[in-house]
């Protein structure tokens, strides 16, 4: 059944349909023993469906309609099996024991009411090959060993803790321990680190890689990040719309892509583009700045924000510690940092949603937190936000027209018909057809929604846009389009952006200057070129090193 005895997995002409609609179209690929293969694709490309089919865990009405998935016989146990037709009991024996899965979201994949150790022990008991009553002490020591192996310090003590006492990275390590509990020969990792910060991501992946190498496990790595795939695997499978577009080594895919789609993907992949030093959208040296425009539009001075810790009277944490920077009119300033660095708090203070403990954030010399009445309203119109999640930031009960119209109505701008004209104009500006006006947000794609959010932010003709992770929820190609749109709008309208992001590669693409934050402190502040080419802070160097795809910069 296997065409090559050295293969661990052979997928041939696999077709999967959901209620009659095919979503995978005859995909074929194979993996050799010990090989690391990446499946790269955007959301909707069918990559998750493919691993769902391999594990026979397709959601809802998903069915394998054609093709075979042959799993090679284990070196120590197990027969050659066609997973497409195997019975459910056979599949149960295969899952965990011969194919392990590291799921995507470390926040929701652990049972919050169950101790970490017990969850690992559960996996061990479920995958036990020997019959008989489990020896609890033995299971426990095995689970502790697994946790320690997955890189959890002080595993003996942490065995009895609950998931909420673990950070995201630590939870992901627990999930890896669970996936490895059955000593599988094939490990499928479904976007294992996309919810994590870059430096944590690097640690986890390094660790995963060494574990996999030490055990000779084959790794099927599913990701949307081409740079990450290139760094971590021997072979890349590019998928789009349920088809395999291209297969090749990382070098082939990145440096010599054969297909148009792959070329687009490589060009849009921010990490790769940043590493290759190409594809900057913003002109790093903004033309000849007009004398009036040279003035800073936003000045942040010694900003401090302390949050009182709940339940501990008197003690507090400094989310933002003495942060100062200036943003010149018409330029883009990026604030970069990992989760917990205080970057979002800075944005919220500038927007007047939080009050600073001390220090000031001045927009054209005035602060939203101290001004009142008409002065505040005038200032409000100068600064508008674009939020991260285009699914949550638009009221689902509103039509697109009403959404874009809302700021105008709140500020009582114009008559009904002049506002309609303005909405139409804004739709044109963000390159959305006017026909979307009566739709609801849920009828639009993520990229379209983010365009609506931008149109809404532009409605009051602001001068400063605060973009809080405005593109991080989007697929790379869409992300690229939105960044282009933002750059384009900046050229036409002379907008200033404060771009909050965790993604250094996006910074490279759009920003003129950068503030690097960690634990509420500004680590480094300078132009993009200075920070990227001559970083002075160790932390910046660490961040830069963690950008996937950096190896292909040469």
């Amino acid at each position: 059944m296997l065409q090559d005895a050295e293969n661990i997995l052979e997928v041939t002409d696999l077709e999967v349909g959901f209620g009659g609609t095919p979503v995978l179209h005859r995909i074929s690929f194979s993996m050799r023993r010990g090989e690391r293969v990446a499946i790269v694709g955007q959301s909707g490309s069918g990559k998750s469906t493919a691993i769902g089919a391999i594990l026979r865990l397709l959601p809802g009405s998903g069915r394998i309609t054609q093709g075979s998935i042959v799993l090679g016989g284990g070196t120590t146990r197990g027969e050659v099996e066609d997973l497409a037709t195997a019975s459910e009991p056979v599949m149960r024996a295969i899952r965990g024991e011969r194919i392990g899965l590291v799921p995507q979201d470390p926040m929701s994949n652990l049972n919050p009411a169950m101790r970490i150790g017990a969850q690992v022990a559960d996996a061990l008991v479920a995958n036990r090959t020997t019959e008989g009553k489990p020896d609890r002490a033995q299971i426990r020591s095995q689970a502790v060993a697994l946790l320690a192996e997955a890189g959890i310090p002080d595993a003996e003590r942490r065995y009895g803790q609950y998931p909420h006492e673990f950070s995201g990275g630590m939870r992901q390590r627990v999930l890896i321990a669970i996936a490895l509990a059955g000593k599988p020969e094939l490990l499928i990792a479904d976007e294992p680190t996309s919810a994590l910060d870059v430096t944590v991501q690097r640690q986890i992946l390094n660790h995963l890689q060494s574990l996999v190498d030490a055990r000779g496990t084959s790794l099927l790595f599913v990701t949307h990040d081409l740079g990450l795939a290139a760094d971590r695997t021997d072979r890349i499978i590019v998928m789009s719309e349920g088809r395999i577009v291209e297969v090749g080594t990382p070098r082939e895919i990145l440096l010599d892509p054969q297909q148009e789609y792959t070329r687009q993907l490589v060009a849009a992949a921010p990490s790769v583009a940043a590493a290759l030093g190409a594809g900057t959208l913003a002109d790093p040296t903004p033309g000849v700045p007009a004398p009036a425009a040279a003035r800073s539009i936003l000045v942040v001075e010694n900003l401090v924000k302390e949050f009182a810790l709940r339940g501990q009277r008197g003690s507090s944490i400094r989310a933002v510690d003495n942060v100062s920077f200036e943003v010149e009119r018409g330029t883009t300033m990026a604030v970069v940092g990992e989760s917990g660095s205080g970057k979002t708090t800075v944005a919220r203070i500038i927007l007047g949603l939080e009050t600073a403990s001390s220090g000031r954030a001045l927009i054209d010399g005035e602060s939203l937190t101290t001004t009142r009445g008409a002065q505040r309203r005038a200032l409000r119109r100068k600064v508008q936000p674009v939020f991260q999640d285009p699914y949550g930031s638009l009221d689902p009960t509103y039509s697109i027209e009403r959404l874009i119209d809302e700021p105008l109505r709140i500020f009582g701008v114009g008559s009904r018909s002049s506002r309609q004209d303005r909405v139409a104009e804004l739709l044109d500006q963000v390159a959305l057809p006017r026909t979307v006006a009566q739709r609801r947000p849920n009828e639009l794609s993520g990229g379209q929604r983010q365009r609506v959010a931008i149109a809404r932010a532009l409605a009051l003709e602001p001068e400063l846009l605060i973009c809080d992770e405005a593109v991080s929820a989007l697929d790379v190609l869409v992300q690229d389009q939105i960044l282009t749109l933002l750059a384009d709008l900046q050229d036409r309208l002379g907008l200033t952006y404060l771009f909050i992001t965790h993604d250094l590669s996006v910074v490279r693409q759009i920003a003129h200057s950068v503030v690097v934050m960690r634990s509420g402190i500004v680590e480094e502040n300078g132009t993009v070129d200075e920070v990227f080419n001559h970083p002075t802070a160790d932390y910046t160097r660490e961040l830069l090193g963690a950008i996937p795809g950096a190896a292909f910069a040469a």
């Binding site: 949550g392 009960t397 309609q420 009566q438």
Partner: protein, 296 residues
């Protein structure tokens, strides 16, 4: 997601019009249509009761008690006093619907704003939620007895007692929704535009809570209809000989084996009213729910 499915453009800037969206959604929901038709039949029966009923509802025929359905002159039979079941049924639907609609209105009109306030402001929450707890601790029968003692048992008082009994649950539902919605990004977005609390509550929170309110209202409706039966049975609601579905049911209990039809028909009517409201309410909720993509 095809662009072609859009309504034709009407607005000046070619933006089209959003009107008719809810109606068109209702039209495409077969269960909703069924519920709407049932509701229409029930309401028509109640409104046209004086015309449709062959006899006055209180007229007794001592010579023909316990008639079976389809008897000459009494399509649905008669009860122990020889009163025509059909006539009483039609007038009974009228009173039951009145009580049901009144108490639901009371619960929605008072519960929704209080729930919004409680969910939105911590200060109000402390007061409103404690009052809610107190009201919940009172059996609503005591409120009904109190009302009846003050101003005499009547249809209006029964409706008020039933409505008050349902206010706390309505407050809790709306408060919960408000707590959830006010944390969402779009409310944060509205705040960055300096939208007033009233704007946020009326234009963002309330529309997003509508489906929950409708569901709760359709749950209250049957409870109120049955609650009216209970109150009338205890003599605290509608006074005999005025017919109501509840009174007919409780009367029919005494001779359930001799004339089961006298109990079956009001029971069926209550079931029909509840079903109509539930089906129509579900359809209405789907029509109001913008995230529902199964329609069309």
């Amino acid at each position: 997601m095809a662009v072609e499915t859009l309504t034709p453009a009407e607005g000046g800037a070619g933006l089209g019009s959003g009107r008719g969206r809810i109606l068109s959604s209702l039209r495409h929901n077969p269960l909703g249509i069924a519920g709407g038709i049932m509701l229409l039949v029930v309401v028509l029966a109640a409104l046209l009761a004086p015309i449709l009923a062959p006899y006055p509802p209180t007229e007794v025929h001592f010579d023909t008690p316990f008639q079976r359905p389809l008897t000459e002159g009494f399509p649905l039979g008669t009860d122990d006093l020889g009163r025509d079941v059909l006539s009483r049924l039609l007038f009974g639907i009228q009173t039951s619907l009145q009580v049901g609609v009144l108490s639901v209105l009371l619960a929605v009109v008072i519960g929704t704003p209080l729930g919004l306030l409680a969910g939105y402001s911590r200060g109000f929450d402390a007061v409103i939620s404690r009052l809610t707890d107190v009201t919940l601790a009172f059996p609503f029968l005591i409120i009904a007895v109190g009302l009846a003692a003050i101003s005499g048992p009547s249809l209006g008082n029964a409706a008020i007692a039933l409505g008050i009994a349902q206010i706390p649950t309505m407050i809790r539902v709306v408060r919960g929704e408000t707590l959830r919605i006010k944390e969402s990004d779009f409310v944060l977005g509205a705040r960055t535009m300096d939208a007033s609390p009233a704007w946020i509550m009326l234009r963002h929170v309330l529309p997003n809570a509508t489906s929950a309110i409708i569901v709760q209202a359709t749950v209250i409706m049957p409870v109120a209809v049955i609650g009216e039966a209970l109150l009338s049975f205890l003599g605290l609601g509608i006074q005999p000989p005025t017919p109501s579905l509840g009174i007919m049911l409780s009367d029919a209990q005494q001779y359930i084996f001799r004339a089961p039809s006298a109990a079956i028909f009001p029971g069926l009517a209550i079931a029909a009213i509840c079903l109509a409201f539930n089906l129509f309410g579900d359809a209405l909720r789907d029509a109001f729910d913008p995230t529902d993509t199964t329609r069309k």
